[in-house]
């Protein structure tokens, strides 16, 4: 399989035009224009307060934007709630919070989408869920020691992999990942990087990765967007940029803000 070429004209699955958001006197977003292609992994970076988490919360239906448009597969959409966004195929995986430690791998995979019989009684079809869970995990090459192991007994990487697997098991088209490699060792990280690449390349899953760590972004992403002061300030394929470039950009922005703050104080 050839590596995806992010610069080629491929179909855009998600597009935002001029998204703005303000909280009282604070302007969080000043018009975000972003494009996500099918099967692409896009990295979002930005300092704290740059607006990336506000933007992500708009994409997941948590906040409505003040103005601007969101297009999903070419159609304009507005998300009323998180579950509304989820119904349309936008899933989020939060940092290590998602799994229930006391439930098994299979139970976590099917949480709130359990297969049951006997109508309202909700008798769990455990055998079927375990079989499907095993098949699905094998399909996306996630190895866990035991489908009946409690999530608590898994490593951080395995837990993250199960959380990603749960989000993608059903009708997800776009996956938002919040610092997916946080607090992970090299082997653990490799597990998640492989999973993300496999989902993107072999299953056409599109993903947005939010991370502070540029090294992680280079491992995971096809393209990187830097958000500064509520705008996309920089949009580059990872092949056309380097770790040094990104670091330099962020530092110069930091210096600029420092100077700006200083000059305002001088006034």
């Amino acid at each position: 399989m050839s590596a995806p070429n992010p610069t080629a004209e491929r179909d855009v699955i998600l597009k935002t035009v001029g998204i703005t958001k303000r909280f009282g006197a604070v302007v969080a977003l000043r018009g975000i224009d972003m494009e996500l292609h099918r099967g692409e992994v896009l990295g979002l970076v930005g300092d704290n307060g740059a607006g990336k988490s506000t933007f992500v919360k708009i994409l997941t239906g948590y906040h409505p934007p003040d103005s601007g448009k969101i297009y999903l597969e070419g159609k304009e959409v507005a998300f009323n709630s998180v579950s509304d966004a989820r119904r349309r195929g936008i899933e989020t995986v939060y940092q290590d919070l998602a799994l229930i430690p006391q439930l098994t791998v299979a139970q976590n995979l099917f949480l709130n989408r359990e297969l049951t019989s006997l109508g309202k009684i909700g008798w769990l079809s455990n055998r079927k869920m375990r079989r499907l869970a095993r098949e699905y995990l094998q399909g996306i090459k996630v190895n866990v020691p035991d489908i009946d192991a409690e999530a608590e007994s898994l490593s951080g990487g395995q837990r993250q992999a199960i959380a990603v697997a749960r989000a993608t098991r059903q009708n997800a088209k776009i996956l938002l990942l919040d610092e997916p490699l946080a607090a992970m060792g090299a082997r653990e990280s490799a597990l998640i990087v492989d999973l993300v690449k496999d989902l993107a390349q072999n299953r056409g899953m599109s993903m947005i990765v939010i991370d502070h760590n540029y090294a992680h972004l280079f491992e995971l992403c096809d393209r990187v967007n830097i958000i500064q002061q509520g705008r996309v300030a920089y949009d580059r394929s990872v092949n056309d940029t380097s770790l040094e470039d990104l670091t330099e950009l962020m530092i110069s922005e930091y210096r600029r803000q420092l100077l700006e703050g200083q000059s305002q104080l001088d006034k």
């Binding site: 579950s83 989820r86 939060y94 919070l97 998602a98 799994l99 229930i100 430690p101 006391q102 439930l103 139970q107 949480l111 709130n112 359990e114 049951t116 009684i121 909700g122 008798w123 769990l124 007994s153 749960r166």
Partner: protein, 319 residues
């Protein structure tokens, strides 16, 4: 270590089974009256209410909440029944309506806890005092005889020596099925294990909590009516805390975590047997009333220490 011992230790109920077997053997040897049918019925009747309230507490404790009012609901529901019956309602209707009131009490506990964000410990303690006061006011603090202790009805609802026990067993099995085999039970564990994670997955965590408070009140109210009919009198001065605390102890000794996410109904039943055997055994071997509570407290503490030590051993073995 052999696989059998290893897997036995890893079962959550293992310690309490061992400790209970220990006290059963001890009292069996120490007193010839222990293994008689009459004594076993006495123990079983004593533990029926502890088991049911304990099983209800398992659902609540798994949610990382607590319900202190279940004991007072147990004492109050027969008063509801008595007052309704005295007002002219047929006994069957009086029972049904008083159980409905119990469900409402659970609903109030749940709603105040979940939507008004008051810790359940305080909500249910408040409810305990309120119900205690309500009964004192209504009864003028005078003891009464329980109605309904005649015929087949009375036999089925508590007079028959095994009827309370059979009811309790039925409720226990239903509780076990709910927790282990149904979607609702899975969502209880999910809510108690990781509230935010469960809510993010779309589990209706608040509703689940309210339903559980309603369930424990219903179960406590029901077993309270059975016991009142069996004992044939109701004393408004009884404290519900004396009823609910052994239930909570049974749950915790049986392997249910106070921190939420983990609970075992079977362990609670065994924990209740442990408490029942202890109480009965001390009586049989003639421990003086003055020493009784001291001995009981020390034995519970020892059992609990053994429990936590074995649990961490089991965790080490799993690694």
């Amino acid at each position: 270590m052999s696989t059998f011992i290893r897997s036995a230790i890893q079962r959550r109920e293992a310690t309490v089974v061992a400790v209970t077997l220990g006290v059963v053997i001890y009292f069996g040897i120490a007193s010839s009256a222990f293994f008689t049918t009459a004594n076993i019925v006495t123990i079983a009747q004593y533990i029926a209410s502890i088991t049911i309230i304990g099983a209800g507490e398992v659902l609540i404790l798994v949610l990382a909440e607590i319900d202190l009012s279940a004991g007072q609901v147990y004492l109050t529901s027969p008063w509801f029944m008595y007052l309704l019956w005295r007002a002219g309602l047929p006994l069957g209707w009086a029972i049904a309506l008083s159980l409905f009131f119990c469900i409402i009490i659970g609903l109030i506990n749940g709603v105040v806890t979940v939507w008004l964000n008051v810790p359940s410990l305080i909500v249910t303690l408040g409810m305990t005092y309120a119900l205690f006061g309500l009964v004192l006011v209504e009864s003028n603090a005078i003891q009464v005889n329980t109605p309904g202790a005649t015929g087949l009805f009375g036999w089925a609802f508590g007079i028959g020596s095994w009827s309370t026990i059979l009811w309790a067993l039925g409720i226990l099995i239903i509780g076990w099925i709910i927790l282990k085999r149904t979607r609702f039970g899975l969502h209880i564990t999910a809510t108690g294990g990781n509230l935010i994670g469960a809510a993010e997955a779309g589990v209706p965590v608040r509703r689940i909590k309210v339903y559980c408070f309603m369930l424990i009140s219903l179960a406590a109210g029901f077993i309270g009516i059975l016991d009142a009919i069996r004992i044939q009198s109701m004393n408004p001065g009884n404290s519900g805390l004396d009823i609910v605390l052994p239930g909570i102890v049974a749950a915790v000794v049986g392997g249910t975590a106070l921190t939420g996410g983990r609970g075992t109904i079977v362990g609670t039943a065994i924990g209740a047997i442990f408490l029942g055997v202890l109480e009965d055994g001390f009586n049989l071997i003639g421990v003086s009333a003055n020493w009784f509570y001291l001995a009981e407290g020390v034995v519970i503490l020892i059992a609990m220490v053994a429990n936590t030590q074995l649990t961490s051993l089991a965790a080490r073995l799993r690694r």
